[in-house]
């Protein structure tokens, strides 16, 4: 098994004919993702790479039974695109778009929560369940099917962690980029709950960064409920307060959201926190060995 994306996923790409959307649609199809429809308002009735294009998400759901959406539309229209997907009955929406105004996201967040929709992102690389499907912009080839779940606020730093795992022959069940914005549809705690319940995930890698308190919130949950080994890293240990480090959400404000606070909370929860991102893979390897040997003696 895996979380969010599997063989039953039927994907609609919102913004399929745009430059980002078209490039990554090809990549997703190549990886084996079931892309059943695309949406570009005004281009309904055409085709892209053999995928039928519709004017609305509703039509994509009606004609192609799409059950998952990925959004590549520009920032000014992306919040509306999420709402359209929710309204069409899609239950998993993955928003790649970066730069959506926070005020727009407040309303979107409220909507997805009230409709019980899982929103991943915005400003994220997407979700991949190696060997089953990839929804987003991550390079598929660095991944390897297996039993470790990865959840992260960053893109390339996640690829780094995944590469380390794959090089050590540790495969991944699902890798989820939750996004670098201050308002995101799913936080660490939401994804960690899913990994905790997934019988095919044995360990969790959690990659956070400065800003907010989502890591602390997840640490509380892990302390109480998670028995699987968790390895954590927080990016931005050297970042100064009051300065935004690229991601809209990566800022220490009012003395809150520092890496040291987060690392302390995570350590307290029993998470194996590494101070160097180069040690994520090897630390998980050791943690899994201990975990499996304990299981064997039981």
């Amino acid at each position: 098994m895996s979380i969010l994306v599997d063989k039953k996923t039927r994907l609609v790409v919102q913004g399929i004919t745009g430059s980002e959307g078209s490039f990554h649609t090809k990549q997703m199809i190549e990886y084996g993702t079931k892309v059943v429809a695309g949406v570009t308002p005004g281009k309904g009735g055409t085709e892209f790479e053999g995928v039928p294009v519709y004017n609305t998400v509703k039509e994509a759901v009606l004609h192609q039974k799409a059950n998952t959406s990925v959004i590549f539309v520009p920032a000014g229209f992306a919040a509306d695109a999420v709402l359209e997907a929710v309204d069409a009955g899609i239950k998993v929406v993955i928003c790649i778009t970066e730069g959506i105004p926070a005020n727009d996201m407040i309303a979107v967040y409220q909507k997805v929560k009230s409709e019980d929709v899982v929103l991943i992102g915005p400003n994220c690389p997407g979700v991949i369940s190696p060997g089953k499907g990839k929804i987003g912009i991550m390079p598929g080839f660095i991944h390897k099917a297996g039993r470790v779940g990865v959840v992260s606020r960053s893109g390339t730093l996640t690829y780094e962690a995944v590469k380390q795992l794959s090089d050590l022959k540790i495969g991944q069940s699902t890798c989820v980029g939750i996004g670098g914005d201050p308002i995101i549809g799913s936080r660490f705690i939401d994804i960690i709950k899913l990994f905790n319940e997934d019988p095919d995930t044995d360990g969790i890698v959690m990659i956070g960064e400065i800003g907010g308190s989502a890591e602390e919130e997840a640490a509380e949950f892990i302390k109480k409920y998670v028995k699987k080994p968790v390895v954590g890293f927080i990016a931005g240990q050297t970042a100064p307060p009051g300065r935004r480090m690229g991601h809209a959400g990566a800022i220490i404000s009012g003395g809150k959201g520092t890496a040291s606070e987060k690392m302390a909370a995570m350590k307290k929860a029993g998470i194996k926190v590494v101070s160097s991102p180069a040690e994520i893979g090897s630390t998980m390897q050791k943690a899994l060995e201990t975990y499996y040997s304990k299981l064997a003696t039981k």
């Binding site: 959506i100 926070a102 407040i106 390339t156 590469k163 308002i183 990659i207 009012g254 180069a278």
Partner: protein, 389 residues
């Protein structure tokens, strides 16, 4: 984006939020003209305009009792290097003043509006401890901060504004004026796509008026595209010139104080690379995210920006080529390094598609590259070049 206090007050005026009469001045003569012709009266406040709080304590705010004093204070404050708890020890040069009429203060309160990330909603915070550093109040006496969260589907309710006004101990005309002030202020916050509005102090006058004596605004950079009027408020003098330069090349750069420059694709990996530099015994000189298309142009612009900081003794390039091919990136790095003629050691770590070919190209280029095989190796190579130089 941040703006000056006088600009914030211009915005407040547009939304009919009460502020003292005042105007900006760039010279002592202008300051006197504003005081005499635009404001009148017998009491004025001369306020330094920089993008940082704590100006009063640093000597940047003075009360003048005559036009002569307005001139003298303006002369002293303009051009001074103002150091506050928010500017850092290097301070900021004052280039603009706000000349304002004096206000008959009865009480000083605090109002702030911002996004509460924990609940993904806006929150209005109020406190009777106006004029103080709110971070201190939050830490030492958190019970003195009143909070109301805004439901996005219903907006800021009048009952919530009343809750705040009652909790602040206001009654009669003061209460009524405070409720109206709060409702209008929230309207400004939403309509301008602000990420922070802080009125500290909010003053209650002896006459019962409720006036914003200070105005601090931050705006959501992601929403600026729909506020061309606010974009004209940007003051480049308040920003680091290198960061302004970098933004022209669409590079995401933040200047720091260290000795090892870095160039990375992706914000998270860039922060992680800074951490690696620290662990390797160096100090990161910058944050630099070159984004998805690391090519010759972005890399050579990155080199230029990093090298204009004289403290930089080594550079670490860390690119994870997922969809971009590493051999293309290597080609860009080699061309850029030749063009710029970089004299300090460069540690390059390229990972992903065609990383091996890229490594060979870098080694055979005849340039001063230390090619690293992994992130761990990159950290060790940084330590090595720092110990040699």
């Amino acid at each position: 984006m941040k703006i000056h206090e006088y600009q914030g007050k211009e915005i407040l005026r547009k939304f009919n939020v009460p502020v003292p009469k005042g105007n900006v001045a760039f010279t002592p003569e202008e300051a006197v003209r504003v005081a005499k012709e635009e404001l009148g009266g017998e009491l004025w406040v001369v306020k330094a305009q920089i993008h940082a709080g704590g100006r009063g304590k640093g000597g940047g705010v003075k009360v003048a009792k005559s036009l002569h004093e307005v001139y003298e204070y303006a002369k002293t404050i303009l051009g001074m290097n103002l150091v506050t708890h928010q500017t850092g020890p290097e301070g900021k040069i004052v280039k603009r003043l706000l000349i304002e009429q004096g206000v008959n203060i009865d009480r000083e309160l605090y109002i702030g509006i911002t996004l509460d990330r924990g609940v993904s909603r806006n929150v209005i915070m109020a406190s009777t401890e106006g004029g103080m550093e709110i971070e201190k109040v939050a830490e030492e006496t958190p019970e003195k901060i009143i909070k109301e969260w805004i439901d996005p589907s219903t907006g800021f309710g009048a009952y919530q504004a009343r809750n705040i006004a009652f909790a602040l101990g206001l009654s009669g005309a003061q209460h009524k004026n405070a409720v109206s002030f709060l409702l209008k202020l929230y309207d400004v916050y939403v309509k301008t796509d602000a990420s922070l509005v802080e009125i500290n102090p909010l003053v209650i006058t002896k006459e019962g008026e409720v006036i914003a004596l200070d105005a601090k605004f931050n705006f959501d950079d992601n929403a600026l595209y729909r506020h061309s009027d606010i974009m004209t408020y940007r003051d480049f003098d308040e920003e680091d010139p290198l960061e302004v330069e970098a933004s022209r090349y669409s590079l995401n750069y933040v200047k720091l104080d260290g000795n090892v420059g870095c160039m990375v694709n992706g914000a998270g990996l860039a922060m992680g690379t800074m951490d690696i530099i620290k662990l390797a015994g160096g100090e990161p000189a910058n944050f630099l995210d070159v984004g998805g298309g690391a090519n010759k142009d972005t890399v050579s612009n990155g080199f230029k920006i990093i090298l204009s900081d004289p403290k930089v003794r080594a550079i670490l390039i860390n690119i994870f080529g997922g969809i971009v091919r590493c051999d293309r990136v290597a080609e860009g790095v080699i061309l850029a390094a030749k063009e710029i003629d970089v004299k300090i050691p460069i540690v390059v770590r390229l990972e992903g598609t065609n990383a091996k070919e890229a490594g060979i190209m870098l080694k055979e280029s005849g340039l001063n590259f230390e090619v690293a095989k992994s992130l761990k190796d990159a950290a060790e190579k940084v330590t090595k070049v720092l110990s040699i130089n």
